[in-house]
Symmetry: C2
Subunit: 193 residues, 2 copies
Amino acid sequence: MPMSRSRFEKFKQVLRQRQHDMTVVTDQVHKAQNISAMIRTADAVGIPEVHMVKPVRGHLVYHNTAGGSGRFVSTRVHPDIQTALDTVRGKGMRLLAAAWSDNAVSYRDMDYTQPFALVMGAEKYGLSETAMEAADAHLTIPMIGMVESYNVSVAAAIILQEAMHQRMRSGHYDLPDPTDAASRKQLFRWAQP
Amino acid sequence: MPMSRSRFEKFKQVLRQRQHDMTVVTDQVHKAQNISAMIRTADAVGIPEVHMVKPVRGHLVYHNTAGGSGRFVSTRVHPDIQTALDTVRGKGMRLLAAAWSDNAVSYRDMDYTQPFALVMGAEKYGLSETAMEAADAHLTIPMIGMVESYNVSVAAAIILQEAMHQRMRSGHYDLPDPTDAASRKQLFRWAQP
Ligand SMILES: C[S@@+](CC[C@H](N)C(=O)[O-])C[C@H]1O[C@@H](n2cnc3c(N)ncnc32)[C@H](O)[C@@H]1O
Ligand SMILES: C[S@@+](CC[C@H](N)C(=O)[O-])C[C@H]1O[C@@H](n2cnc3c(N)ncnc32)[C@H](O)[C@@H]1O
């Protein structure tokens, strides 16, 4: 069955709005459903690639159950957090760690129109010391209940939705069709049955 | 071990900030991790009670894995959506359904300082016709990727976080200590070891 024109147009539209200066790094997050939900959210806000660090205890149980989004968001697994952070820093991204600390700022007070990598901590242990120290800023989401944290995929989505909101307002998603070789290659890959 | 003073103060503070005119209704959502994450989010934004409708197919697999929040958020299971909606309407809440439709509004354009119940659809089938039609408004969260929806607990959190933001700004969380009998009873229950 040949691909419909409208699906092809959708691919082009989605590729056009991908934000190459925005990513997520997961610091030993290990539950499949959390990883899947984060990849699905990444797709929804236009993140083309997600970086994951393998848990030291247990293993990364990630299957492609992200509502099919696994096909549309690339994933890179790193052996340790330092390598992951070096990689995204190398692309000019600031490191924004979702974490509580004395100098944390409320997530709505951050400017997400600049390049950034959102670093998320593990379900049980939170962020590593390495990530806490390397971060350019710590972001917190207010909570007024008894429980001390949000589910990690929920926390990531709240912050990324704010980032998307800011980028919509500033016109980041209204860009011309991508004409570079990488985008054409991606379009070709997605269009494969 | 007697309960520490600071924990008791925390209970009082949390109870004081509970928003009795704000709730969530789940319309046949059935996955345990989604229900748990929503209860945890409810606790975080100050929702005292969540309403759930049993799935017709399959069953509600909810165990208390919501990071302990199950103890601090009451849950009510209803036999069908009509009963659930009647219940929250009876408490004077508007019905806000998270759903796409021709007259949906973007979730940030809604006023959440008024009493409301946020109605969330099932993982696979979305919202029932009954809920769609009964709703006073349909809310959508923008998405610009290939996937058609967010995970349900992620979608709920994004909307509830906006509600919390608006209510913080308008002083809804700065209320005097609760002195009514119901609050005293709740405080007593929580304080039990
Ligand atoms: C379940 S939490 C980790 C809880 C862990 N016990 C701790 O103390 O860090 C998983 C991750 O979600 C993010 N997170 C959860 N709630 C958050 C909040 N209110 N503000 C900022 N980040 C949050 C953080 O990245 C955290 O490391
Ligand atoms: C996984 S979605 C359901 C998808 C289902 N296939 C459908 O077409 O409705 C589960 C629920 O999350 C909520 N939801 C998910 N993404 C949303 C969005 N972008 N805007 C509003 N609600 C959303 C809706 O309540 C939806 O019924």
